[in-house]
């Protein structure tokens, strides 16, 4: 049944959504959410939704209470309605701020709306599906091992009552052939992941904690957004200094190494992984690379561009490079890429100054909808 209040309730929820959107930038900057996934609910703080009125400040007013205690004792303020009496209680509702629960997916959708991110058109017509078996049905034939006791018993009871052979004082149920029921399976299609994200990060000495935090937060939001569009996603993580190696997610975000920077090593490894395991006509591939832009040598940069142009770009949906500003790096790399990859439509480049820059950078990366 639909109640009249639901219109008002939806209206209120819209307002809350609006407030969340207004503050989206703040939420994105924060690292708190990044342990969450898909349908999990997260509590985001929004400024209170309220009708302002001239009113007394609660601290200035004080009040009268009843109970034991002497002057100087503290009063624990537990707002609680004794009992809902007149319906006048609304005036003392939550004072400042409000925690609203939203799912991560909703938040990702809002991010999309706010940044005007287009829907991604997945590549490859044949979405990969895997057949899985689920025992969810009931059948009248089947192997004894799958006999469904409860259904069988119920059927037998029903039949005996109907035919009058059931005696409540001596309740013996004897199933016959036609009472037997068996579990049966259904074949369902389960989508297999068909998108790959390769995260690459420079872990050379010049990438500090702050820079890594930025990378972590940004990759979390990218991950969340892409997951909205693909049934499943494979993620691979590569770190590199002068050498590149594949690591798991945990190490990717927490390790800190020092040494020189040879970006080409990471690109080569990335290209190898794609070649070996992810045929380009079935997979939507998104490599992301984060660095402070301080490559070892001009030669290496040239090598990078070569690998990108010949081995990576033809196979991927989009290659993204994010350059995090660091006090040590020269930041030359993004300029080189910009120069040498001019006209390549599959490349997204972005410079990230600080945590505030994450918001804009996400837009840079995802606004093409590839």
């Amino acid at each position: 049944m639909s109640l009249r209040i639901h219109n008002d309730h939806n209206r209120f929820k819209d307002i809350v959504r609006g407030r969340i959107k207004q503050n989206l930038k703040e939420y994105i900057k924060k690292g708190e959410f990044i342990t969450k996934q898909g349908n999990e609910k997260i509590a985001v703080p929004i400024p209170s939704v309220d009708l302002p009125q001239f009113r007394y400040g609660s601290k200035s007013q004080g009040g009268v209470g009843q109970g034991p205690g002497k002057a100087g004792d503290s009063v624990s303020q537990n707002p609680g309605d004794g009992e809902g009496g007149q319906g006048q209680a609304s005036s003392d509702s939550a004072e400042h701020g409000l925690d609203v629960e939203v799912t991560l997916q909703e938040l990702a959708d809002m991010l999309g709306e706010e940044l005007l991110l287009p829907r991604i058109e997945p590549r490859g017509s044949q979405r990969l599906k895997v057949k899985r078996i689920r025992y969810s049905g009931v059948h009248s034939v089947g192997p004894e091992a799958l006999r469904h006791f409860k259904h069988t018993f119920k059927n037998a009871l029903r039949r005996q009552i109907a035919t009058g052979t059931y005696d409540p004082s001596d309740p013996i149920i004897v199933p016959i052939r036609s009472d037997l029921r068996y579990r049966s399976f259904k074949v369902i299609d389960k989508p297999q992941s068909n998108a790959l994200i390769v995260y690459m990060m420079d872990v050379s000495g010049s990438m500090g904690e702050e820079q890594k935090e930025i990378v972590r937060i940004e990759s979390f939001w990218i991950d969340t957004w892409l997951r909205r569009h693909y049934d499943g996603i494979d993620s691979r993580y590569i770190i590199h200094d002068a050498m590149a190696k594949e690591v798991d997610r945990d190490i990717f975000f927490h390790t800190r190494e020092s040494g020189g920077t040879m970006i080409s090593s990471a690109y080569r490894l990335c290209a190898d992984i794609i070649d070996k395991e992810y045929p380009a006509d079935e997979w939507n591939i998104y490599p992301f690379h984060f660095s402070d832009g301080d490559n070892w040598s001009v030669d290496d940069t040239r090598l990078c561009v070569g690998i990108l142009r010949d081995r990576i770009l033809p196979k991927v949906n989009q290659f993204s490079y994010g350059q995090v500003e660091s006090p040590y790096g020269s930041g030359q790399f993004i300029k080189d890429l910009r120069e040498q990859l001019q006209g390549q439509s599959k490349v997204a480049l972005s410079e990230i100054k600080d945590k505030d820059g994450i918001y804009k950078s996400i837009k840079d990366f995802l606004s093409e909808g590839r």
Binding site: F12, K13, R55, V64, G84
Partner: protein, 499 residues
């Protein structure tokens, strides 16, 4: 459509009402309706009425109530509205004992609505009026757009506490004046002089300083005549409704909201008395007439929940019921009048009993003629305060928490009265509708020891600006310094003012 009350409950209703009549309660016909929790949350969000105008604030309240219910943090047992016939709602999932208790409680409220003076002027067909308002506002929304109308309602609701809560009883100077004679301009100020026969006598008959004084008096009078409004307007909402540049639908919406705000005033004025009265009677009716012996435990559990205290929270049910019982006891024993007041012997006071038996009569009189402020002022006595363990609390800046400031009778009573005066709302008036001769609006907060919440004040000023469309100012003080806060449509200005 209202559902038919189940036969069992109908029988119960008749029984409860018969018992209530036998004690002399007199009430409107009551229509009970049984609702499930979702419906009762809706009706409660609408403040008891089944149909209200569309607005998100009901949705917000509904969300809060539903969450509370779902998490088991509280449910609504009962709702009753002041109307003739009186409508009351019962929660479907309540047990039979609960329904009994609720019916007794509702009958108490009903009697109070019918007999207390504060409710005498309320519209007893408010149920219909609210529905009419809803229809009208819905129509405006169709015509002018939902967002436009809703945001206007937002602004108006932000001043719906700035009304004159005594308006029903006092005739004040009209906000709109009839055409008056044109006040004379400054140049025309003429002081009549006494005739002097000889020219040299003139300065003795009409001394210069006296003439000057008269001139100034006339000038001041002329100035006052030009003043707008003549007297500070207590009902800010009405003032804006009359004088702000509104279009017709806006004025109509404001008028409806004004009426609704006034409808709820008596309930705010008699919260303690009303709840106390209902609690007094549910206890009396249940224990003396309606309850079966098997229901005692459940009743005791519910009743103690209703009158339970929490530190730092004043429970109007508790305060009310205890005061009525105290009054009844005092008038039964004759503990009033000058003999009682002047008696200083503790022993004598303790055993004072004149066997007057006028308690019942007195509380019926009190429920008819008093409002919360008078109720507390007259019957909140030193003995009562001590016996009930009341205290006054305040915020301690050093410790950053609320602490008990005093258990002194005077201070407790003062604080209690202060929180009830003007319904606990700040006293704000329009003192000038043509401030600085630029059609700006000057409000004045009559400071009574409690500062305004600045954050809220600023937001409210913005909303008033949106209605008045010219800069708005409010005079108030914060931590003993007078200031004038202004909003001109873009930014706030704060000016300190020396007293």
């Amino acid at each position: 459509m209202p559902k038919q009350l189940p036969g069992e409950l109908l029988k119960l209703q008749l029984r409860v009402e018969e018992a209530a009549r036998s004690y002399g309660l007199s009430f409107f016909q009551t229509c009970y309706e049984v609702l499930d929790y979702d419906e009762i949350n809706m009706v409660a969000s609408y403040m008891g009425f089944p149909v209200r105008y569309p607005h998100w604030k009901w949705g917000m309240e509904y969300e809060r109530l539903s969450k509370n219910y779902e998490y088991g943090m509280g449910k609504i047992y009962e709702l009753v509205i002041n109307n003739d016939p009186c409508y009351a709602y019962l929660l479907e999932s309540n047990s039979y004992v609960d329904q009994k208790l609720v019916m007794c409680h509702v009958t108490g409220h009903n009697d109070f609505f019918k007999n207390n003076f504060a409710f005498a002027h309320t519209n007893r067909k408010m149920m219909d009026e609210m529905a009419n308002h809803a229809t009208r506002i819905r129509r405006y929304m169709d015509w002018y757009g939902v967002d436009k109308v809703e945001s206007f309602i937002d602004r108006v609701l932000s001043i719906d506490n700035l009304i004159d809560c005594h308006a029903a009883f006092i005739k004040r100077g009209k906000i709109v004046d009839e055409e008056e004679e044109e006040p004379k301009g400054e140049g025309q100020v003429q002081v009549s002089r006494l005739p002097a026969d000889k020219e040299y006598m003139d300065r003795y008959v009409n001394p210069d300083d006296f003439i000057e004084l008269q001139k100034q008096k006339l000038k001041a009078k002329a100035e006052k005549a030009r003043k707008f409004p003549k007297e500070p307007a207590r009902d800010v909402m009405k003032f804006l409704m009359m004088h702000a540049p509104l279009v017709r639908w806006q004025r109509d919406v404001m008028d409806m909201l004004w009426k609704e705000a006034h409808y709820f005033v008596p309930q705010a004025m008699t919260k303690i008395m009303n709840e106390g009265w209902a609690s007094y009677w549910h206890a009396k009716l249940m224990t003396e007439k309606v309850m079966e012996s098997s229901e005692v435990i459940d009743f005791a559990d519910r009743h103690s929940g209703v009158v339970s205290m929490q530190p730092g929270q004043l429970n109007p049910y508790k305060l009310g019921i205890e005061l009525y019982r105290d009054i009844e006891d005092r008038w039964n024993k004759g503990r009033f009048g000058s003999d009682w007041d002047n008696c200083t012997s503790m022993a004598e006071r303790r055993n004072w009993d004149k066997q007057l038996g006028r308690g019942r009569e007195k509380i019926f009189q009190v429920r008819k003629l008093y409002s919360d402020v008078m109720f507390i002022d007259e019957f909140f006595t030193l003995e009562f305060c001590k016996q009930q363990g009341f205290f006054a609390y305040g915020y301690d800046k050093k410790r950053q928490e609320f602490i008990i400031e005093s258990k002194d009778f005077r201070e407790v009573k003062n604080k209690l009265l202060q929180s009830l005066t003007n319904l606990g709302q700040p006293n704000i008036r329009v003192t000038d509708g043509n401030f600085e001769n630029r059609a700006e609006l000057l409000l004045e907060h009559k400071h009574e020891g409690v500062d305004l919440d600045m954050q809220y004040s600023k937001e409210t000023l913005k909303n008033i600006y949106a209605i008045w469309t010219r800069p708005v100012h409010i005079l108030s003080s914060l931590e003993d310094r007078c200031f004038c806060l202004s909003f001109d449509g873009e930014s706030f200005k704060e000016k300190l003012i020396s007293k």
